[in-house]
């Protein structure tokens, strides 16, 4: 009897050891998306997850954790165990802007960077029924009628608000900023002509009946037919990026495996084509470069927001 128990215990220990030493990953991985299913963050995330699970040999479960403009989901990622089985698909605003304006359970040092997946400049979009045809026309019209034209935002001091404030600052423009709950509701009012301007990722350009006035980059992006902010003298590039991150202190062998697999997916021709189909743009950046860019942008937006909020 005792021998039997001993044997069983031994077997149990052996299984445990093999489990501990099995190569990562040996069970399904959860990828948290901090926005709702079917949206601009969710669709590319599912695309990556779909291709990534073939590389890693383990299923990847996409979990949408919605609320607080994405901060609820990000908080869940940073609060999880850093074992490589909970990762997040994170857009720039939730980690570079929100920590400066709200009290959040995460900050600059809460993440392990695995790789950037997409990157597109912010585009200032205009309603087709607005009384201008280009950026110069818009600036002229707004100067003549301060506080008349409406800019739709999805939240105070986020990526739909900050870029417009910077432009307004540079050219001395006065807008009315009106918050909305979702992009579709904004687009309805833009088509109807109640809202004139809205800043967002270029995806909306191909989906809705609006056009772009200016792109927030130094070097113009192919297939975006509009001037850059550098050309008009505003030195404030702003990009929407989405990347895969985990909680801080992930083991090096896990991050190595993940970064390699993500690179193979994101840098592939197949992913680039699929990303273009959903009006996104694949952009690979490895962990070190990603971290460096994050650090820079975190400080950059911190400064911009401090200045912006102090003037209010």
């Amino acid at each position: 009897m005792i021998r039997r128990i001993f044997c069983l215990a031994l077997m149990f220990v052996v299984t445990l050891c093999t489990a501990a030493h099995a190569a990562y990953p040996d069970h399904p991985i959860t990828l948290i998306v901090p926005f709702g299913a079917g949206g601009g963050t969710d669709v590319p995330a599912r695309l990556v997850a779909n291709m990534l699970e073939k590389k890693l040999g383990q299923p990847i479960v996409v979990q949408n954790i919605v609320g607080g403009s994405g901060t609820q989901g990000v908080a869940q990622i940073t609060g999880s165990k850093p074992d490589g089985y909970t990762l997040g698909y994170i857009p720039v605003g939730t980690v570079c802007l929100q920590p400066h304006t709200q009290k959040l359970p995460y900050g600059k040092d809460s993440f392990t960077f695995l790789g950037m997946v997409t990157r597109q400049p912010v585009v200032l979009m205009s309603s087709k029924v607005a009384p201008w045809k280009n950026l110069e026309g818009m600036i002229e019209a707004v100067r003549k009628n301060p506080n008349k034209y409406v800019v739709a935002i999805t939240g105070t001091a986020n990526m739909t608000h900050v870029p417009v404030v910077e432009l307004a600052e540079k050219f001395g423009l006065q807008f009315r900023y009106i918050p909305y709950r979702s992009t579709p509701e904004i687009m309805k009012d833009m088509i109807a002509g109640r809202v004139q301007l809205h800043a967002d990722a270029p995806a909306a350009l191909s989906q809705f009946d609006v056009y772009g006035l200016v792109q927030y980059v130094d070097v113009p992006v192919a297939n975006l037919n509009m001037p850059t902010t550098k050309e008009v003298g505003l030195d404030k590039p702003m990009v929407h990026w989405q990347g895969i991150m985990g909680p801080k202190n992930m083991p090096a062998e896990v991050t190595g495996t993940l970064a390699k697999a993500i690179e193979e997916v994101v840098a592939s021709k197949e992913f680039a084509e699929e990303a273009t189909k959903i009006s996104s743009a694949a952009y690979w950046m490895g962990p070190e470069a990603f971290q460096k860019q994050f650090d820079q942008e975190f400080e950059y937006y911190g400064g911009v927001l401090k200045e912006m909020l102090s003037k209010k």
Binding site: G38, G39, Q72, T101, P179, P184, I191, F208, I278
Partner: protein, 498 residues
């Protein structure tokens, strides 16, 4: 020609099969308390990647219609609505089931659903461009007026118990205020809890108020009376033409309400069913019987919530603007299949658009066989001993409330809402006003704020005069508040004079 071909593509064996699969899966998921349309669609989404666009749409539309109708099966049979939009159905469906007429109640719900769905489909295929233009007329002011009208239906729903009804409505409005303010980044009523920052979601409240409090009520009667009314197993009996007579106008009116609510982006099937229920309770000749098993109430709720499907497709297809989270997922599916949604969709891809219309109509017809199958499956569930059945319901409630947003605080909200609702129900507070307050509250606040910002320095008079739609809606709301009071006074005067 393209459009005809597109419409016929909905009838190929593959597309028909997928459509039916969708309706069935949607109905089963919808019938499980707490798991709604979005969950059902997200489950099916990965399968659509390998299909062509028409087949994918047939599947998703099937799921959409099925899930909305499926919620009413559990609402009627065990008084726990499977989805927010079927919460109203339980109000009269369950009393009917208790009286041993569950098959008839499901028959009413099913036939009203099909009629509402087909009606909205007809409207969709005839008048999409016109209706899309109408939807664009609705800005902040018009939305505010519409929601105000919606809130007045609280007063008709709580007829006979005005004070308690209004108190419950205010409770709902207060719940809607929890979380970050949309106009500043301030948090309100969160007690410093970060998880409450994102506000109180509708799903956990509905699940708690309707499903969990019902479980507590049953547990109590098991404990003190040693028995519960046995939940009878059921089939589907469609109502006869004779029973329908005198109810056609109600059906048409409710379908129109559902379609219009569907067309407005940012609303949803739950809003439609409550509005239509409120209107029926105000105007139905049989309103005295509401709450005791009156089919009129089931007709109003079910035809309106299924009519939303067609209405929501109007801005989705004509403008590329999704009316609710489910249609947003459908647009994403279009994009994945290389069809760019938006204003050009109808002119560039008439085939796919008319295929969608046809698939939606077919999905509505397929609800009948799917409902018969689901009800049969549900019977196995109902044969379980009562304690085990209720245990399952609790597990599903918790699962569903967590699944909606993946936020643990929602599970706590469900529990608290369940216990509170149990207490309030015992005190005679009606439950629908709480839900109406919460459903409409967040949008109400948003539209008031937006309206004031849009008004700016303009005078109120010229701001209001610029919108005839809003003025009409305001007049309606005023009428709906004033009419019951006036008719009461007139009655009293007559009594005193005679």
């Amino acid at each position: 020609m393209d459009s005809l071909q597109g419409a016929l593509s909905a009838l190929t064996p593959l597309n028909l099969g997928m459509n039916f699969m969708g309706v069935l899966v949607g109905m089963i998921v919808g019938a499980l308390p707490g798991l709604g349309s979005v969950v059902a669609i997200t489950v099916c989404l990965p399968f659509t990647f390998g299909m062509d666009a028409g087949t994918a749409m047939a599947l998703l539309l099937g799921v959409y219609c099925g899930s909305i109708c499926g919620g009413s099966i559990s609402a009627i049979l065990i008084n726990t609505p499977g989805t927010p939009q079927s919460a109203c159905t339980s109000l009269d469906g369950f009393p009917m089931a208790k009286a041993g007429k569950s098959a008839k109640a499901i028959g009413w719900a099913l036939s009203a659903s099909i009629a509402g769905g087909i009606f909205s489909c007809l409207v969709l295929s005839i008048a999409t461009p016109t209706l899309a233009a109408f939807a664009l007329e609705f800005g902040a002011l018009e939305t505010f007026a519409l929601i105000l009208m919606g809130l007045t239906c609280i007063s008709s729903i709580s007829a006979g118990n005005q004070m308690k009804g209004l108190a419950a409505g205010v409770m709902g409005l207060l719940l809607a205020c929890v979380g970050g303010s949309p106009f500043s980044s301030e948090s309100r009523f969160t007690f410093g809890l970060f998880s409450l920052n994102s506000g109180i979601d509708l799903v956990p409240v509905i699940v708690g108020v309707f499903a969990l409090s019902e479980v507590i009520t049953r547990a109590e009667s098991m404990l003190y009376e040693g028995r519960v009314e046995a939940t009878s197993t059921s089939g589907v009996t469609l109502p006869s033409m004779k029973e329908w007579s005198g109810r056609y106008w109600l059906l048409l009116k409710s379908s129109i309400i559902g379609t219009i609510v569907g067309i407005m982006p940012g609303t949803g099937a739950a809003t439609a069913s409550f509005l239509s229920y409120g209107e029926a309770k105000r105007s139905s000749p049989r309103r005295e019987n509401f709450g005791k098993g009156e089919p009129d109430s089931i007709i109003a709720a079910e035809s309106a919530n299924n009519a939303v499907t067609g209405g929501a497709m109007v801005p989705t297809l004509a403008l590329g603007i999704p009316g609710d989270p489910v249609t947003a997922i459908m647009l994403a599916t279009f994009a994945i299949h290389g069809i760019s949604p938006g204003v050009r969709l109808m002119t560039e891809n008439p085939g796919i658009v008319y295929g969608t219309f046809a698939a939606l109509a077919v999905a509505n017809l397929l609800m009948y066989p799917a409902c018969v199958i689901t009800t049969r499956l549900f019977n196995y569930f109902l044969r379980l001993p009562e304690p085990i059945l209720m245990g399952f319901v609790v597990v599903l409630c918790i699962l569903g409330s967590y699944g909606a947003r993946g936020n643990m605080v929602d599970v706590v909200v469900t529990m608290v809402a369940g216990v509170l609702a149990y207490v309030l129900r015992r005190q005679g507070f009606p439950m629908p006003p709480i839900v109406i307050g919460l459903v409409l509250g967040q949008q109400f606040e948003m539209s008031i704020g937006q309206m004031l910002l849009f008004k700016g320095t303009e005078s109120w008079l010229s701001f209001l005069l610029s919108s005839p739609i809003a003025m009409v809606l305001f007049l309606f709301s005023a009428g709906m508040i004033a009419l019951p009071v006036l008719s009461d006074t007139v009655k009293r005067k007559k009594q005193t004079s005679s």
